[in-house]
Symmetry: C2
């Protein structure tokens, strides 16, 4: 119902000159006399003329829109990354078109199709937890549509990626727990085909080795990231003949569920059990006890992903993977030693 927007034609007819002259005057083309240029620019400013992006898009074959697909919007990690992407994109005059995969590969494919219909210039994606095949992304690559992955990645030879230093993060967790006096460290990982699961498991194994702890397969479990399964796995750890005395998990949802289950069973954190998560500041500091956690530079992941996106636009062969450092913030949930003192 909105009124028709102002166009070059309107300005042209108001000044009794041609559309092309208006267009040129607005970009200070030397062919247009200074006086006329001034007059046109003044009128355009007064009327708040803005070029029609649809027309520009049609002409330039670009929409200045970036499709962003995340597993969900409500998880702090993703919304924070999106904020970062948006910030960078905005400064380059680009907009973000948002789509959720709801952790479903089917919806992920559907989202790609939707974004393609909207003619986005490219996409920035975090894989759904179900995504074990990558045909849909290969198709994008074949069509030379710029693509960037973050966090959960794949096809790293072809696609620029932004990831946290997962391996090192987990090593930090293991060595921290070891130093705090925990000896049997359990890890609840995610689906096996996810890059973050694989890297963190590697870090778990190498971390154990470095810390001189031995690996017990019983203490490493994959989790679909559902609440019920997190509870089930936690319980299964507790009934082990030789149960763990510390635990960390792949995301905040899982680790908070674990904490809740431990508390429900009267197990004291950190006295009886050390707990560490991959979580965001907000959650970690408001939990009780405050959660020791690896913090991702979420905002920076978003900025970097956007930056890589624009690089990829300029250079289709670009496919660098940027690894961002994480920080282990030691809080109460892992402070066994301090408590003992």
């Amino acid at each position: 119902m909105a009124k028709r927007h102002l166009s070059l034609k309107d300005l042209a007819s108001e000044l009794n000159i041609s559309i092309s002259t208006v267009s040129r005057a607005l970009k200070n083309h030397p062919d247009i006399s200074p006086e006329l240029t001034r007059k046109v620019q003044e009128l355009a400013a007064a009327r708040h003329y803005v070029p029609n992006p649809l027309a520009m898009g049609l002409l330039k074959q670009e929409t200045k829109m970036i499709g962003v697909i995340v597993p969900d919007l409500v998880t702090h990690f993703y919304s924070s990354v999106i904020s970062g992407i948006e910030e960078y994109a905005k400064n380059r005059g680009y907009f973000i078109l948002l789509a959720s995969s709801y952790e479903s590969m089917e919806k992920e494919i559907e989202s790609i199709s939707n974004l393609l219909k909207a003619r986005v210039d490219g996409m920035i994606v975090c894989l759904s937890k179900e995504t074990s095949r990558f045909d849909h992304f290969l198709q994008l690559i074949e069509n030379e549509i710029p693509l960037v992955f973050f966090d959960r990645v794949c096809l790293t030879e072809l696609v620029p990626c932004v990831v946290a230093d997962n391996r090192n993060s987990v090593e930090k967790i293991v060595s921290h727990l070891k130093e705090e006096g925990f000896k049997r460290i359990a890890f609840i990982s995610g689906p096996a085909y996810l890059s973050i699961s694989q890297e963190r498991i590697e870090g778990y194994l190498s971390g154990l080795k470095k810390s001189g702890l031995e690996f017990d397969p019983d203490l490493l479990q994959s989790c679909s990231m559902l609440t019920e399964e997190a509870i089930r796995i936690t319980d299964s750890f507790l009934v082990l003949p030789n149960p763990p005395d510390a635990i960390f998990a792949i995301n905040d949802m899982v680790i908070f569920t674990v904490m809740k289950e431990l508390k429900r069973r009267g197990i004291k954190i950190p006295e009886d059990f050390g707990v560490v998560g991959f979580a965001d500041e907000f959650h970690a500091t408001f939990s009780s006890p405050e959660l020791t956690t690896i913090t991702h530079p979420t905002w920076e992941i978003g900025l970097k992903a956007a930056e890589l996106f624009f690089k990829k636009m300029e250079d289709p062969t670009f496919a660098e993977t940027v690894v961002l450092k994480t920080t282990l913030v030691a809080r109460e949930s892992s402070k066994k030693l301090k408590i003992k003192n």
Copy 2:
């Protein structure tokens, strides 16, 4: 760098027919013979032809995009509402263009301008906490650009709005705390010009009256929603000659800050102090003690806002305000009586 997209022209030349014939065949126009229609549709399907939305937009003067402006993305409440909006919009073939005001009126105005440049068909907005003047929205209304507000609203005579039942919510909180045995109930509200602040203060006053508690101005404070101020106000309550024994606050950020400050000072919740928030499920259940809270139907707010948006598109005079019911979920943080038993 993406390849040129497939157009009607491509299909037409491949079949040696005119563009208009292809266009008509695709929409089963009776002028086109059944065989040709079939041939065209088969080719279009094989080539995955999708009409160019830019061309359509140019023609129809619409972009099928809705601008959404929220104070920030990382707050669960907003991201959840956005999810709801996105869901509804997607099913109607619309996309969402996201913009953050970062709680700043200046950025809010800038976002509106940006979205206008992108030629969104309309906007769904939650006011920034700074927004005390509404000229920028009046301008949208003058230009007949469909607009819907949610949560923090204004100009309700002109604009459809979706809000939670704030007054009733607060009455529920007050009566709940009263029943649990708390007698001096403090409230940390938000900036005075925000609709949610006003309505909740009204609910606070009427709730006190209904519960037979008297109003003490010392126990009602406005807060800019910054951590430092939440701490300052909490402290100021505690040094009152006649301090409160319960508290609730306008959002989860504030209430968790309050809880943390209370705990830091060794005050026991809920034994010494009852605490209630306006917060989301996730945070509330993972805090310790678990937080008694008013839960907003966030997803539904988003769905409803989108629904009203489409109504507003059809009927420019439409300006209904929809009030959604909230629920008080009683958890540990307010269970004084249970503890005593």
